[in-house]
Symmetry: C2
Subunit: 319 residues, 2 copies
């Protein structure tokens, strides 16, 4: 274990990969490893990138990696990926990306499945961020492939959220867009070479002008990018860095990070309390009996749990 | 409250809408209402519809409503929608759909935000299904707009999951597709009028043939549909109904429903245990102190919680 922590701290690719696997499998050593790495965390800047499928997030991330590397920064990417064992793991595009940077120890890219984590993907992502932070990466990018409630929660673990939008993806995408607009710190209108990109920008700016009517100084930057024309990506990089610095000097970064720690501690405490109570009282056994009663409609879930909870508390106090 | 339950049982649209709002706001009457309705549940067939954005789920749902109505069935739709207060609530398409069926009391359509539910959107969806079930709808359709981990969990509350795929949506959609393939009971290749639809069908059938190599009789049906050509939708309807009957007669429906009750009871119990312990011990106060220690890197989340949990248990037993 101490060896593994050392490898992570020395930014050895194999050690980092093993540490993340240990998190993903919820290996018994996970907690100790994270505790050992914790004092070395806090130095990285964390960007989240999300947006509807087809908005070109992966290509943007690729561009950001190259630029940050050129500036001498060490970059790690966590791609939250809905692929499953059934379908064969990490997606092709990611494998190609990884190959491209395979010989560069200043880049680390890892796909992480959004399913099948015992402690939940949010907790696995938080721990993975810590491993990469301790390993000394300057920038950690979290990219989501799916776009839904869990993915939004994950990307909100970042210090700065880049929300990628794109012209002309149809009605359903518009709805998705509507649902995620409020989580963006920086709005990226990608594929700016396309017709209608300007219209999307105007729309977004209009919505933002309403939202920040009384606080125009807080208005999120809107940046147009095109990987095809290789334009706007410097501006995006600068906007994100400037936003991070503004958060930091204004004290909001500390507030965000403390909030994140609070929700992490609450989740961890709840999970451990529940595991412990389940074990002590052998609740699994109770639940099997209760399912019978609810299935046969003798009682409803609420009535049953409300009635049993007092009993459980008494039983637990006497255990 | 008894009045509201009566209105629901009489399938009065306003009563049903009020009951769902009561769930969404986690109104104090929620639990009692659900308990009152519970004995009247269990009669509805529940289909979930999911798939990448742009795969035409809404149009398919629209077609299914019309056909089921023509056959005299009462149909309710819950559309899980990522839109937020900031962006202005339910999406345009949904509002149009609702208008279309506004005078038909045999149809009920409701958008439900995936964010901002105190008890979580999964629990709100489960309770809404119960309200609609008690109200006597024959078919309840759950449609997701977003596609991510939470949305997958929601659609798995259905008895039968229709997974909608479509040709030519690019790489990222392919990845999404990969992630959701395993949750489908019926595979719908929509927009079959498009070139390449047949190729998607062949691909899906190949994957399914590998998955069910040893149990060909369990292989999921693959149905090609086109709303444009008005083709395949009868077949889809029949496949889903036949699949439901097969589940029912084979005993798998009971197993699925019991599993759903078990996870619901576990979630409910854990939530109530945690609320209670937090109140009794004023944990919020503790957590604020702990955040300080973790933020200043004096200790790690795991080390801290592991150390505190024994203390919390002792304190709780003595409370």
């Amino acid at each position: 274990l101490i060896e593994l922590a050392k490898q992570v701290l020395n930014r050895q690719t194999r050690g980092i990969a093993r540490a993340i696997t240990c998190i993903e499998n919820d290996h018994p050593a996970r907690e100790q490893l994270l505790s050992a790495l914790h004092p070395h965390c806090g130095g990285a800047m964390i960007w989240g990138i999300t947006g509807p499928p087809g908005s070109g997030k992966s290509s943007l991330v690729d561009q950001l990696i190259s630029r940050q590397r050129a500036a001498g920064k060490k970059v790690a990417v966590i791609a939250i990926d809905p692929s499953s064992p059934f379908s064969g793991g990490a997606i092709l595009g990611d494998r190609l990306r990884m190959q491209k940077h395979a010989t560069d120890t200043g880049v680390f890219i890892r796909s992480m499945a959004s399913r099948g984590h015992l402690g939940g993907v949010a907790s696995a992502t938080a721990d993975t961020i810590r491993v990469l932070d301790a390993a000394g990466f300057d920038l950690i990018l979290i990219e989501t492939i799916g776009v839904g409630q869990t993915e939004i929660e994950i990307v909100e673990m970042a210090d700065v959220v880049l929300l990628t939008l794109v012209p002309g993806l149809g009605d359903e995408i518009q709805a998705l867009k509507a649902g995620i607009m409020e989580i963006g710190d920086i709005f990226v209108i990608n594929k700016s070479d396309k017709e209608e990109a300007l219209r999307v920008k105007t729309e977004v700016e209009y919505v933002l002008s309403l939202k920040y009517h009384d606080h125009p100084e807080l208005r999120s930057p809107v940046v147009m990018t095109s990987v095809l024309l290789n334009s706007g990506i410097d501006e995006l990089e600068q906007s994100a860095e400037a936003y991070f610095q503004k958060l930091k000097s204004g004290g909001q970064l500390e507030i965000r990070r403390r909030k994140r720690i609070a929700s992490e501690l609450t989740a961890l405490l709840n999970a451990k309390l529940s595991v412990r109570i389940h074990q002590v009282l052998d609740l699994q056994n109770h639940i099997e009996r209760w399912v019978e009663q609810v299935y046969l409609q003798k009682t409803s879930p609420y009535a049953l749990i409300n009635q049993q909870i007092e009993f459980i508390f008494r039983e637990f106090k006497n255990s």
